[in-house]
Amino acid sequence: MKKRGWGLGCMWYGIGNTGMPNPSGAFVELLDDATVILLTGCADIGQGSNTALAQIVAEELGVALEMVKVVSADTGVTPDAGATSASRQTYISGNAVRKAAETAKKPLKEKAAALLKVAEEQIEFRDYKIFPSFDPKCALPLKNVIRECRRDGLLTLGHGSFNPDTAELDKESGRGIPYATYAFATQWAEVEVDTETGEVTVLKIVAAHDVGKAINPKAVEGQIEGGCSMGLGYALMEEVILEKGMILNPGLSNYLIPTFKDMPEIISLIVEEEEETGPFGAKGVGEPPLIPTAPAILNAVSNALGIHFTELPLTPEKILSALHEKNNKGAFQEGDLDA
């Protein structure tokens, strides 16, 4: 028989390293033709930080994304951005590149304010134009203002750095400020359990994640879907099998992770509760998606069968064994048969 169940998993998670400084730095230069060079130590390991950081710089300078040339993770030339870990790069390096861009455009802001006879705080950059925020029609072309700066011998370059506001944790009480900001998420899973074989099929996952502001919504979805796949593997199949200290399954042929066929439809709900200390309100989303998936799936199996499970991975054998125990048929034990 097949039984369906539904389960929820919730989480909150600190962005950045715990209770310790973890700064990031960046350099930005705006060239004569509005090309932008961005130097950041941030390593893009596939999550899309090169794109997200370039988007932040482009937005800050009012130029198209294609204009931003990113040089990243080259210790020969790029400033330290810390590790790509702790779900921290969008929030921390995002702030660093934004500050670098702010510094790079400062001479342009001063020049434009003088030309337009308005206060610097009223100057905006958008679509290769510089204009007073109250009167966008009265705009100066970006390249012209750059040229004006060059005439005065002014370059448009800057550096920026950001270190999240944390405080070391007290060794006795554990009190302190571990993180400057937190991500929140809730996931919902629907499963079908085969009560005769113990097989679990995950039919659907709905994943709602507060990311502050989605700098790149498609990349955020990608992170959510990838995290759900890791979480599904964690819940149902991934296990390092040890025997006398030796790993019996050191390869991907027997340490199983989910395939495309194991993955259900995932509905990503991006929640944008802007974080005031984040770049354009952004926080991190790297690790959070994998955190509530296993609890949601296990709760769904419990909901289907009325049995509470506390051990991962939840294999078909564990499920069938628990079902037999519940029905007074006795759980499976190893070695109770001739080989």
Binding site: E243, N249, N254, T315, P316, E317, L320, F332, Q333, L337
Partner: protein, 296 residues
Amino acid sequence: MLEAYYKPASLEEALSILDDFAGRARVIAGGTDLVLQLMHKEVAADVLVDISGLRQLRKIREENGRIVIGALSTHTDLSESSLLQEKAPLLSAAAGSVGSLQIRNVGTVGGNIVNAQPAADTAVALLALDATAKVVSLSGEKQVLLEELYSPLGGSNLNPCREILTEISFAPLSKSKAGGAFVRLARRKAVALPVLNVAVVIHSEEAKGALTDARIVMGPVALTPFRARKAEQVLRGSFPGEESFCRAAGLAADEARPRDSRFRGSAAYRKELARVMVLRALTIAQSNLDGQGVNR
């Protein structure tokens, strides 16, 4: 280290190369198992004779009332064959569940048999179809029951340094007189070895009549693909239905001899799985026989 790699243009040439090296050369086809075995030094060979150029050994046809499959046909060939989908759907289903798409494109049905793994999906289905194998050597050709190619202690009785499996044949499942099914459970839904697979074929002379024959094969519950003979015996002469199928499934589980495995689960669990999956396979086979099934 390999001394030489031959790619003969004919079967005769392949056999004579094997003969020349007198046991030091062995046949390679798709190589999906053999290359790994050579790499892990589980198999020794100084010389490989690559028969993948022998195109006449890649075919799936109906000849004189039997389905004939060339040994070099790939799992993909079997899984996509419309002839098999119609006349032996359990075989195309089994072939379609082997490894990954890339493995299925390269691995051959002959290799699946000669490699003699107890849970080889394609071979398990072929055993349920009571297939016959044609084996050639310099001393001539012989037809042997596929079952007889398996050594009771595991491994193949075919000598890959002297003999070549050229084709496999079996009687097609005739409409409303035979039904088959292949079912499988693995730790994930693709690219995973089976925890348990079961292939069954049942025969009946008249609609809803007593079963005239039944074959139940499963793996990996022994050193070779395992025939549940007691369960088959009970079904012969019985009327198909829940009662006889449950009894047969119980017997099949009793007969099976799985071992505790850290990867596949405890023997006790897999005995229970054997019961559940034999019952399911028989039920599907019956609905296929009745012409109501999804035909797999």
